[in-house]
């Protein structure tokens, strides 16, 4: 069964079509990236899958049921760690919202801290964390919710390129351990190819799925993968598609 299905989805805002018939599935445990020009409606698509918005026509399902709040776990572009909560309390927020008692929510969030490189920072304030740690904390807050799907909206866009590469390889590691179903928005073609099983390319607005690329490269992918001829060829293919539309 597909973890996410998006079929014939259209969405307009004030008579401006943003999504113009989007169709795709994401299988359970699959890592799929969505790339496309700026303003092509990627965030609108995520809003629909997160259940924050409903399509004008078409259907979106998550875990076999219509998309609704609380079915997919969203990691927004901004880390949105709240300065009034400690790091572990930030990570436990989604569980608290679900009604899980605070102590248990904190314990479950804290369990992720070693693997997320946050051990010892449980009671720190978000302001004390580095940029990479903040993103890892935001990801911990997302995956601890235990939802069918994890939605990552440009998770590493705010990081410098060195940190970003480290974070991408780290994300692959934690993902390979637990195999959550991931749908990731990114502008970064290299990031999409490095991390994904499949890359979807959106056209400029109004968006359709313009192209779909499978990434059959073996895992775990490493820094050497970045220079592998197959990797470079895929990256090239995607860059060409993006630029031919722009």
């Amino acid at each position: 069964m597909s973890a996410v299905t998006v079929s014939a989805v259209r969405r307009s805002f004030a008579d401006r079509p943003v999504l113009d018939g989007i169709d795709f599935d994401v299988a359970g445990g699959e890592f799929v990236s969505v790339i496309g020009p700026s303003g092509s409606g990627k965030s609108t698509l995520f809003g629909l899958i997160a259940g924050l918005d409903t399509p004008d026509t078409g259907t979106v399902t998550v875990g076999g049921a219509p998309a609704a709040p609380g079915r997919a776990a969203l990691m927004p572009q901004k880390d949105l760690l709240f300065p009034w909560r400690s790091v572990v309390d930030n990570c436990a927020l989604g569980l608290e919202v679900q009604g899980i008692p605070r102590a248990e929510a904190r314990a479950r969030a804290a369990n992720l801290f070693p693997a997320f490189g946050l051990a010892g920072f449980e009671n720190a304030r978000p302001g004390e964390l580095s940029g990479g740690m903040r993103q890892r904390a935001a990801l911990a807050r997302t995956v601890v919710q235990g939802r069918d799907v994890v939605l990552l909206d440009e998770p590493f866009g705010a990081l410098d390129s060195l940190t970003r590469t480290d974070m991408q390889l780290w994300l692959q590691d934690v993902w390979m351990r637990d195999r959550w179903t991931v749908l990731m928005i990114t502008h970064d073609v290299r990031e999409a190819v490095l991390l994904s099983d499949r890359v979807l390319v959106l056209s400029p607005r109004p968006a359709r799925i313009r192209h779909e690329v499978r990434v059959p490269l073996p895992r775990p992918r490493t820094l050497e993968t970045l220079t592998d001829p197959d990797f470079v060829a895929l990256e090239r293919e995607l860059v060409d598609i993006l630029h031919s539309t722009a």
Partner: protein
């Protein structure tokens, strides 16, 4: 090392307070000089030394009236706080009530207190109630608006994040909008608390059995300018103390608002 670390706040505090202290001392010195040189009658302008000396001589009287004013200020301000919080929350949840009530809040601030306060005495007598109402009227608006704008200033994306987690409107309020509003609230609280003392003194001035306001009025009528100014000094000190107290409360309730520079 067994010695405690030097408190980094006290030198900073001195650096912050020193310029104001220098200016105040210079003005007081100028005032003293003028009174001494010109030989002006103390009924018209007493010297600062005389204000302090006579204030000290009447300290029991002043303390009793100050206590009375402080009580009225705290009760009035507490009422204002409770009403401001309650209405700001109601307005945050209901766009209809926002449109219905916010214009009334603005009107409440435009009422000339100078005209309303005597009417309050006529309507409600010389007791606590008219003073509480005057203070509430003077302080409600900045705090209610501070809260309403504070709630509205919460990050929209943070609200969306909470909703994606399945949060109810109430949970979004509790986890995002309420804490987001606190920095603005404390700014509004500082404005409100200074209005509160002035409001209390004004309400007492118009008619009261005790308090700094009625004390000033009585002393003025017996040409004790020195004691009027002594009461003014106490009023200023009281306002300043309450103002500084808000920083202490903020440090306890919302320490992140002071340390992260997250103020908007």
């Amino acid at each position: 090392m067994t010695t405690s670390r030097p408190d980094p706040s006290s030198p900073r505090w001195v650096r912050i307070a020193a310029p104001a202290a220098v200016v105040v001392l210079a003005l007081v010195a100028l005032w003293q000089l003028y009174v001494t040189v010109s030989g002006i009658r103390p009924q018209v302008l007493p010297s600062p030394a005389r204000v302090l000396g006579q204030g000290w001589a009447h300290r029991d009287d002043l303390a009793a009236h100050t206590w009375s004013t402080l009580q009225v200020t705290i009760i009035g301000f507490a009422v204002s706080l409770v009403v401001a919080w309650a209405l700001a929350i109601v307005v945050d949840f209901s766009p209809w009530l926002r449109r219905a009530l916010v214009p009334l809040f603005v009107v409440s601030q435009t009422l000339p207190i100078i005209a309303i306060a005597p009417l309050m005495i006529i309507w409600f007598g010389f007791g606590l109630l008219p003073k509480v109402l005057v203070i509430a009227l003077a302080t409600f608006f900045p705090m209610a608006i501070g809260l309403i704008e504070g709630f509205a200033a919460a990050d929209r994306e943070a609200g969306a994040l909470l909703r994606s987690m399945g949060a109810s409107r109430g949970q979004v309020f509790r986890y995002v909008r309420l804490p987001s509003a606190l920095p603005r609230f404390f700014t509004a609280l500082r404005i409100g608390i200074t209005y509160a003392v002035v409001g209390a003194v004004f309400a007492e001035y118009v008619g009261a059995t005790s308090g700094l306001g009625i004390y000033m009025s009585t002393q003025k009528n017996s040409f004790r300018t020195d004691l009027v100014l002594a009461a003014v000094l106490v009023t200023a000190a009281l306002s300043l103390a309450l103002y500084l107290l808000t920083y202490l409360v903020e440090r306890i309730v919302a320490p992140w608002a002071l340390t992260t520079g997250n103020r908007t």
